[in-house]
């Protein structure tokens, strides 16, 4: 092993395009996710501006439909999912004491396919109209009969490509967590965030194939003239709803479980107590994931499934409140009697609890099928899912970002600004969405672009819009905070919160390329805390100092993703009538698709034919760095 392979090191932009380091890919996910989160946020503000007063004409009905569709799609698939992956990439290998993920190449491929899928979807704004059939893209509204622009094609193909990245990422984390835990870290000693990331990845593995199939069917219907959802030719529009929600309901648990994980890390750290009821937390997480696959039809109570099916799905949905309740009480009992510090991260984590409970309670209300006939497609539903996704997930993400920022970037975010962010965002959030419960109960429908005056909607909508802008200010403050922090010098301690419990706090911030010079030996839950309590300054190594094998950087994942992107665009415009004969030649004869696929499969061939054995960091190099540190 002592024969060092020389490795080509890239600088600047090329370094980021070719990196296979999970820490850098985490930062890329964060940047891309942040960008799309910003776009989705601007769309949200435009929606709220349009609804600020009755009979407003800021945007047309068509633009409004595009805005709500893109707001939902962007936020779910391109905004919060990547930020979840950012945290998972930045933290999971460190928490389990590994030097990288199981498949560093795939990790990079997953990021680039996600990014190009997201770019394709958002290109729709400048290429003839965004998708306008809602984020659920229900048929028949999304079929050719009712949706004649390329909007829904951008949706199907963009999401297909982005979904590929998510699926790849999920599989990678499954393999990583199953095979690469440090010696001594049994499953029941894994940190809670690793547990939730594991379960989330499993859910991705089972849920994403459903949307993949659904999107393929819809693409075939729209571009190749198939009839899966065309009633006139024997298709069934309700089939789309089933397929979409078989994916879609697990998807919302895919979103919320990592937030549960973040909260389960932040609260014990800042309460200086171990997590209350660790094993019940694990059990509850698994149960939520399991039940999550058996509740999808509660989105479809009003499609006429019949009383038996409605009753069954009502009950299974209400059952989910039980494991979720276990979690809520565990967090409360963790804080009980602890020395709670109200840092910005902990404020977001504690703010999460009541907010998420409110979203959960309206969830149980919606689970009751007869009541759902009243709530269906009103602002009550909008309020509910924003309470769980924003009040739950986004609070969790902010908590996680504040908490792990020093580990990712070597600098602590400004606490004072952080607290302002929390209060502005939290107050703005409740102003925006609390009133929407009542708007819904009064009968205001979702997805309508305007409303008549004097129905009791006017004031509440104004309040809601004001709240949305407060949230916007909160997010901008966070952005300002990150920029301000970036100008400060690096160099925080390994354990900047001083009460770190898990392995990521035992190594430098940010960690060296290889994370752990020697893989640590894990002797219990909260491995680092256990050593601290035993009076040790650092972990006991589980292996002698030796050369470290590293994967080589490569541009291939980026090129593969470019190929898929080109093929996607070619597919979308394959039936378009072009006035330009050259365009018509290359698009209508599938030449663009073929070129794109050749690029992708060519890169795969290159990857297969030329073995890349990686390279080694030698012991001398490691020791030198040890002296410097």
């Amino acid at each position: 092993m002592a024969h060092a392979h020389s490795v080509k090191r890239h600088k600047g932009l090329m370094d980021w395009l070719t990196t296979v380091d999970h820490k850098k890919i985490g930062i890329l996910y964060l940047l891309a996710g942040g960008l799309f989160f910003g776009i989705g946020g601007i769309e949200a503000l435009l929606i709220r501006l349009q609804l600020i007063k009755p009979m407003n004409d800021l945007v047309s009905a068509q633009t409004f439909n595009e805005l709500i569709t893109m707001h939902g799609t962007t936020m779910i698939f391109l905004g919060v999912m990547p930020v979840i992956f950012a945290l998972m990439n930045a933290v999971i290998p460190l928490q389990i004491g590994a030097r990288d993920v199981a498949f560093p190449f795939l990790n990079s491929l997953g990021f680039w396919t996600f990014l190009f899928g997201g770019i394709l979807l958002n290109l729709s704004w400048v290429m003839g109209g965004a998708p306008d059939a809602g984020w659920t893209s229900y048929t028949p509204l999304s079929t050719n009969t009712y949706s004649t622009t390329h909007g829904v094609d951008f949706y199907t193909i963009g999401l297909q490509i982005a979904g590929l990245g998510t699926l790849i990422g999920g599989i990678n984390f499954l393999a990583t967590i199953i095979t690469m835990r440090a010696p001594g870290m049994s499953f029941m000693r894994m940190p809670m965030f690793t547990w939730t990331a594991f379960i989330t990845s499993a859910m991705i593995l089972f849920a994403f194939p459903a949307i993949t199939v659904g999107l393929v069917l819809l693409t075939f219907d729209r571009i190749l003239g198939a009839n899966f959802f065309e009633v006139a030719n024997g298709g069934s529009p309700v089939l789309w709803q089933h397929i979409f929600w078989i994916f879609g309901h697990p998807e919302v648990y895919i979103l919320i479980l990592p937030a549960f994980g973040v909260i389960s890390e932040v609260i014990p750290t800042f309460a200086r107590k171990r997590l209350f009821g660790y094993s019940s937390m694990v059990f509850a997480t698994i149960l939520i994931a399991f039940l999550g696959f058996m509740v999808w039809a509660h989105h479809m109570f009003t499609t006429g499934l019949g009383p038996v099916a409605n009753a069954l799905f009502s009950i299974s949905t209400m059952l989910i409140a039980v494991p979720t309740g276990i979690k809520i009480f565990n967090w409360l009992f963790t804080m009980w009697g602890g020395q709670v510090r109200f840092t910005a991260a902990n404020l977001f984590a504690i703010g999460f609890i009541p907010t998420f409970v409110m979203g959960g309670v309206t969830g149980v209300m919606l689970a009751s099928a007869p009541a759902d006939y009243q709530f269906h497609d009103t602002y009550f539903v909008v309020a509910h899912f924003h309470y769980v996704i924003v009040g739950g997930l986004v609070f969790g993400l902010f908590a996680g970002l504040h908490y792990w920022w020093p580990k990712m970037f070597g600098r602590v975010l400004n606490e004072t600004i952080g607290k302002w962010e929390f209060w502005l965002f939290a107050i703005g959030f409740h102003l925006t969405f609390f009133v929407q419960h009542f708007l819904g109960l009064m009968g205001m429908q979702r997805r309508i672009f305007t409303y008549l005056p004097n129905q009791g909607f006017d004031t509440l909508n104004l309040v809601s819009t004001v709240g949305a802008f407060l949230m916007g200010v909160g997010v901008l403050l966070f952005l300002f905070n990150t920029i301000l922090t970036a100008t400060k010098p690096k160099g925080v301690a390994n354990d900047p919160w001083e009460d770190g419990r898990t392995l990521e706090w035992t190594i430098a911030s940010p960690p060296a390329e290889y994370n752990f010079k020697q893989i640590p030996l894990v002797r219990g839950i909260d491995a680092y805390w256990k050593e601290k309590m035993a009076g040790n300054k650092e972990m006991t190594p589980a292996e002698p100092l030796g050369p470290i094998h590293m994967p080589s950087p490569t541009i291939l994942p980026f090129v593969m993703s470019v190929g898929i992107f080109i093929a996607g665009l070619g597919m979308m415009f394959s039936k378009e009538h072009f006035s330009n004969s050259f365009m018509s030649l290359i698009f209508n004869n599938w030449i663009v698709v073929i070129i794109g696929l050749l690029i992708t499969f060519g890169s795969m061939l290159l990857r297969s034919l030329f073995d890349d054995h990686g390279w080694h960091i030698e012991v001398e190099e490691l020791e030198e760095e040890g002296v410097k540190a």
Partner: protein
């Protein structure tokens, strides 16, 4: 830690419990026999259609188990996770298929 290094360890760990090729050859012959039975039943014709379908399904299920157990090594130690994940996968996919059959098409 790269995959390669792991692979090195695995090779060392796995080597002493490898049983040689005999079992694989037996399983291979057995799968060929199953395939021949399936093809022969259809080719012979004249057999009751329902019976043929049931027979084919049984042959297919046996094949799947042999493939998974021997060629995918699911019968070996240390394969609990793949087995659990496959069972859950069958569960999720089965739910979806049954749903589609009973709710959408009937």
């Amino acid at each position: 830690m790269s995959v390669d290094q792991h692979a090195d360890h695995d090779v060392i760990k796995h080597r002493h419990r490898s049983e040689g090729p005999q079992k694989h050859i037996i399983v291979f012959i057995f799968s060929i026999i199953l395939t021949v039975i399936a093809f022969a039943t259809v080719a012979a014709g004249g057999v009751n259609a329902t019976f043929t379908v049931i027979l084919l399904l049984i042959m297919a299920i046996l094949q799947v188990f042999m493939q998974l157990g021997y060629w995918m090594h699911l019968k070996d130690k240390g394969h609990l996770m793949p087995i659990l994940f496959m069972i859950f996968g069958f569960f999720v996919a089965g739910t979806a298929v049954i749903m589609a059959l009973y709710w959408v098409w009937w």
